[in-house]
Structures are given as C-alpha cells and as structure tokens.
C-alpha cells in the first residue's frame, strides 16, 4: 500500500541522510576485493616479492614456506608473484572489454529508445543476433576473424557485452522518456542532442555502472577461460587461466598450484559482483526518495 509509505517517508521530508551501515556493507566488501585486484594489476612490480619469470628449477614444487608464501610451481617460480602479475592481464582485458561494451551499448540503447521506429527495430534485431550466440563461442569466432592479438581479443569480448548494455540502456531510457521533464525540455526548445546529453544520459547511467561492475567480473572469467584453453596469454606470461590449466596436472600432489589461481579468480569475480550489488543498493533508495 503506497499511502502509508508515503506518509511515513514524507514525514522526514528533506534530505535526512540517515547513515545505514548495512547498506554499505556489500559496497565495502566488494569494493575492497575489487580494489585489491586493481592494485595488484597496477602495482604488481611493487607488491610482488619475486619476478614471475625467475626460474629456479632447484626449488620447484615446494609447498608454502617462509620464503615462498604460496609455494613454487613446476619451474621453481614463486606462485604468489605469478598470481599477482596475472591480475594484470585480467584487468587489462576486462577494462577494455567493459569500456567497449559500455560505450557501444549505451549509445545504441539510448539512440534506439529515443528515436524509436525503424531505428529501434533495426538496432534491436542486430543486438538480438549478437545476443543469440553463446559468449565463448562468439569470442573465439571473433578472434579467429579479427586475429589473435591481445587487443582484438579484448575488443571481441567487448562486442559480446554490447547487447546486454544496450538493452539496459534502452529500457532505462524508455523509463526516462516517460517522465515529464523530457517533455518540458522539448517545450523549452532544447534540441535532440542536448536533451540526450543533459536530460537522459545522467539519469540512465546508474544501472549501467552496476552492470559494468558485473560485466567486469564476467570479462575476467572469459579471459581466464580463453587462457585455460591455451588461446590467451602464452607462457611464460602468467594468467590465472593458464596457471589453472597447468595446475590441473598437479592436483594430486601439489594442489596449491591449481587452488591459488582459482582462489584469486574467485575473489576477484566475487569482489566485482558484490561491488555491482553494492552500487545498485547505493543508487536505488536514494533515487526512490
């Protein structure tokens, strides 16, 4: 029943920013894990105790110890350092992919909803086409056609994200178009471009950012899947995916080789997912005011 809720919320009518720590819990946890990943990527050379490439066959396959906190791999390299450096690849790919997806999807979605008609029809059918391919398959196909350079791989994943973002942008734009302030802007004489940038974009961006956080996590997974299959970062470059692949063979006796990159990936993906949830909680009740 909305009547009592309106009465209840209407009582503290102006700002009343009550600090509800519960609301920020997800944001805090997610944010920390996400920040950890990003910092590892940016400052790997500072944080990591060893170089990821230093071979030392003499010390191979050692378990966790004082010198090597997470042990060494089959070539004597420090697992912790390799895990930290591996974040770089994941973050790089994810950042480019999410940017491509967010930018492309937002523009397509907003334009689609704003102009409607044939434009909307054509663009949305195109998006559906893209959407109907399984992501990993599409990624591989795109890379086969665009070439296997790392940049192309990132763009390929980005293209996979465009339909998702475009749908979200389109739905949000349609909700905004129903608001009277868009009509009001038109009566004042604003042109289409100005309306799109001033009135629509700022009000549509919130759910897109939430989606971007989640997409980031997915991009990391896609990149790792690729590397796991041997199509991504090539040795000696560490990536969580190829470390997992190698670790697979050693699961019986030296399980940490597989568990560590797996855990790193898990924490990264969890972090960005929680960040997305936290952002969503952050935006919603405020907007409901």
């Amino acid at each position: 029943m909305s009547a009592p809720t309106t009465a209840a919320v209407a009582a503290p009518r102006s700002t009343g920013r009550r600090v509800n720590w519960r609301r920020y819990r997800l944001l805090a946890i997610g944010g920390s894990l996400a920040a950890l990943t990003l910092l590892s990527a940016l400052f790997a050379h500072v944080i990591a105790p060893y170089s990821p490439y230093d071979l030392n066959v003499a010390e191979m396959l050692q378990g966790p110890s004082g010198a090597h906190w997470l042990g060494t791999d089959e070539l004597g390299r420090d697992v912790l350092s390799r895990t930290i450096y591996a974040a770089r690849i994941s973050v790089e790919v994810a950042v480019v992919a999410v940017s491509v997806g967010l930018l492309g999807g937002t523009i397509i979605g907003i334009v689609s909803a704003y102009f409607g008609g044939l434009v909307d029809l054509a663009l949305m059918r195109l998006m559906e086409l893209l959407f109907s391919f399984p992501a990993i398959l599409l990624a591989i196909v795109l890379m086969a056609s665009l070439g296997t350079s790392i940049l192309n791989a990132m763009v390929a994943i980005g293209i996979i994200f465009i339909p998702g973002f475009s749908r979200l942008a389109r739905a949000s734009t349609q909700a905004v178009l129903r608001q009277q302030y868009v009509e009001a802007a038109r009566t004042v004489g604003m042109g289409d471009l100005r309306i799109l940038v001033r009135e629509i974009l700022p009000n549509v961006i919130a759910p897109l950012l939430v989606e971007a956080a989640v997409a980031f996590a997915y991009a990391v997974l896609l990149e790792s899947a690729r590397s796991f299959l041997g199509l991504g970062a090539q040795p000696p470059e560490p990536s969580w995916g190829n470390m997992l692949n190698t670790g697979r063979g050693f699961m019986a006796r030296d399980p940490w080789l597989g568990i560590v990159p797996g855990m790193a990936m898990f924490l990264c993906v969890l972090g960005f997912n929680l960040l997305g949830d936290g952002l969503r909680d952050l935006f919603d009740p405020h907007l409901r005011d």
């Binding site: 909305s2 009547a3 009592p4 009465a7 209840a8 209407a10 009582a11 009343g16």
Partner: protein, 333 residues
C-alpha cells in the same frame, strides 16, 4: 445481503472508539510524533469524515484501526476499541480474523489493490472463503450478489472479468463489494474517490450513503476534499499536523468553523457553484512532525494568534458534540 449477524442497537456503544492515540516514528532529527493524542468515535450507522491535508496523520490513524501501520511506526499511547474489543497489541492471528470481518478497508487506488491475475468474482468472494470457509463456487456466486448490491451493471457477466477490464468506477465498486462481503460493522474508506472522475465520484458517494441507510454499516471516511465530506458525512474531525483541531456535526462546522484552520481551509477551497472573489491562501507550510512549533501547532500560520497561543490549547466545547482546540473558544467565566 442477508442479515447474517445480530447488530448492535444503534447508539449503545460506539462501533469504533479511539482514545488518546499517539503514534511516533524515529527520524534522524529525533522522534516525530505523527499522530498526537487523537480521540475519535464512530457510532453505529454513522458516517464520520476525517479531513486533513498531507502530514495531518489521518491515514495513519485509519491504518492503526486495521493493524496496518508501517513497521517503523510505534503506538506510543492510547487505545482503540472496535465494538468494545481493544485492538492495541493484538496478535497478528486475531488481526487477520478481524480484518474484513468486522472492519473492512476501501483504499484509494482500487486498481492497485486488486490482484491482476484473479477474476473479479474470485477476489470479491475471497473474504467469504477465508473467514467462513465457504467453498469457492459458492463464494463466487455470493460475489455476484454483492456486485449487484453495489449496482454494477450486468453483474453476472462482469464478475467473470479481470480487474484491468473494469473502469475506475467499476473497480471501486468491486472493492466496496469485497468490503461488504462479511457484513462488517465498520468500513474505513481512504480517499476512495480522489482518483475518480467527478461524475463517477458522485455515484460512489451515493452508493456509500445507500449502504449506510440499508445495512446500517458505519463508515469512517478519510479525505482532503471538503466538498465530499459536506455531501456525505454526518460528523467530521478536522486534523492538522497530527492532531484533531475541530470536531462536530458537518453542517455546523461548515456554517461556522471555529478553528482558524478549518475556516482557512474553507476559504482556500475553490467552489464551482458560487462566485469567489479571492481564494485566501494560508501563509507558510504544514510543519513536519519533528518540527512542530511550541504551543498551538497552527500558531505560525494563524491570522488571529495571540499570546495565549504559546501554550497548546485543549479541546473546548462549543456546543453539544462540537469542540475546537483554539484559545479563542475558551469559555468566558
């Protein structure tokens, strides 16, 4: 509608008696008392109106009679008696038995109150099924009788339709039919005609009067529309910022309002039936419950305030059944 239950003889005990009710919320600025020491009663067969603007506390008062206050609201003090039974602190199971059976609610937005995926006859008959164990077939048949009683055209055919196929007026009639299903002693209507066209509103008001005349059901009518209470109600309570500032027979209050707020409200209401030189608006704004002025709550906006108004006036009796909370009404020695 058949005479299911023996009714209380009119006038012996009020159907509803609220005494000194106060409801509070916690806000960042402190405790907000949104309903302050409200006392009202509804006798058998009476139509009582509660008039107020936003922030007056009228809806919360009505919801407290149904046990539907929002979770964060606290009943600080006071009592609510429905046909003698105390409602404060009732367990939820007892509330469920009471709601629909002894007191029914008619909300403002009928469409939102109706389940879009259930047929109208199913919904109107639902109270019978829930409270009396009537099997669905029989309940739906009863629903058609009820829809006839509320003057829905072609009730048998319409009953099989879904809420979105009904017009606003029809939806509201369906809600009223649902409210009457168990022959409650009291109907609480919260702005039931605000969203309706004026011609449809006239029909719904007529229907409510008819229900009272035929079945003796009491009605507690919450609204902000002065015209509606003038037409429908026997007695009214005028609420402002959480308290009742004037109460009495509707004709008396409209002829000579005693509280400056009641009078200001009348003057600020545009009327279609007579010439109006000027709408006199009330300066200022309705205060937030957490920011009430000390003393009489209307003092900041009142054109006849004087020094006594620094203290909150108690209700003064003007004549039988008519009181107002204004120092100007203090009986002279």
């Amino acid at each position: 509608m058949d005479q299911g239950r023996p009714r209380l003889p009119g006038g012996s005990q009020p159907v509803l008696e609220i005494s000194g009710l106060s409801i509070e919320f916690d806000t960042p600025r402190g405790v907000a008392r949104v309903v302050d020491d409200v006392s009202l009663s509804v006798r058998s067969g009476e139509i009582v109106g509660v008039i107020g603007e936003s922030g007056s506390g009228k809806t919360l008062t009505a919801l407290s009679v149904l046990g539907l206050l929002p979770k964060r609201a606290r009943v600080r003090s006071g009592s609510i008696r429905l046909a003698g039974e105390s409602l404060i602190g009732l367990p939820e199971a007892r509330w469920r038995a009471i709601r629909g059976d002894r007191v029914a609610f008619i909300p403002q937005d009928a469409l939102r109150a109706l389940n879009p995926v259930l047929r109208v006859d199913t919904q109107v008959g639902e109270p019978l099924h829930l409270h009396r164990g009537t099997p669905w077939q029989a309940a739906r048949r009863r629903a058609v009788d009820l829809l006839t009683a509320v003057h829905l055209r072609e009730p048998a055919a319409q009953a099989k339709k879904y809420p979105h196929q009904f017009s606003g007026g029809m939806q509201q009639r369906a809600m009223i039919a649902m409210g009457l299903a168990l022959e409650p002693q009291l109907l609480i209507a919260d702005e039931p005609t605000t969203a309706l066209d004026v011609t449809v509103q006239a029909q719904v008001l007529k229907l409510l009067r008819e229900i009272r005349d035929t079945y003796g059901t009491s009605i507690l009518f919450i609204t902000h529309d002065l015209g509606v209470v003038a037409e429908l109600c026997d007695r009214i309570y005028v609420m402002y910022a959480g308290a009742i500032v004037e109460e009495g027979p509707v004709r008396r209050i409209f002829a000579r309002p005693r509280h400056p707020y009641s009078e200001a409200l009348l003057r600020a209401t545009p009327t279609a039936r007579s010439v109006q030189a000027e709408l006199v608006s009330i300066p200022g704004q309705i205060p937030l419950p957490s920011e009430l002025p000390p003393g009489c709550r209307f003092v900041d906006r009142c054109s006849v305030a004087f020094d006594a108004c620094r203290r909150d006036p108690p209700p003064f009796a003007i004549e039988a059944g008519h009181t107002a909370r204004c120092w100007h009404c203090e009986p002279r020695p």
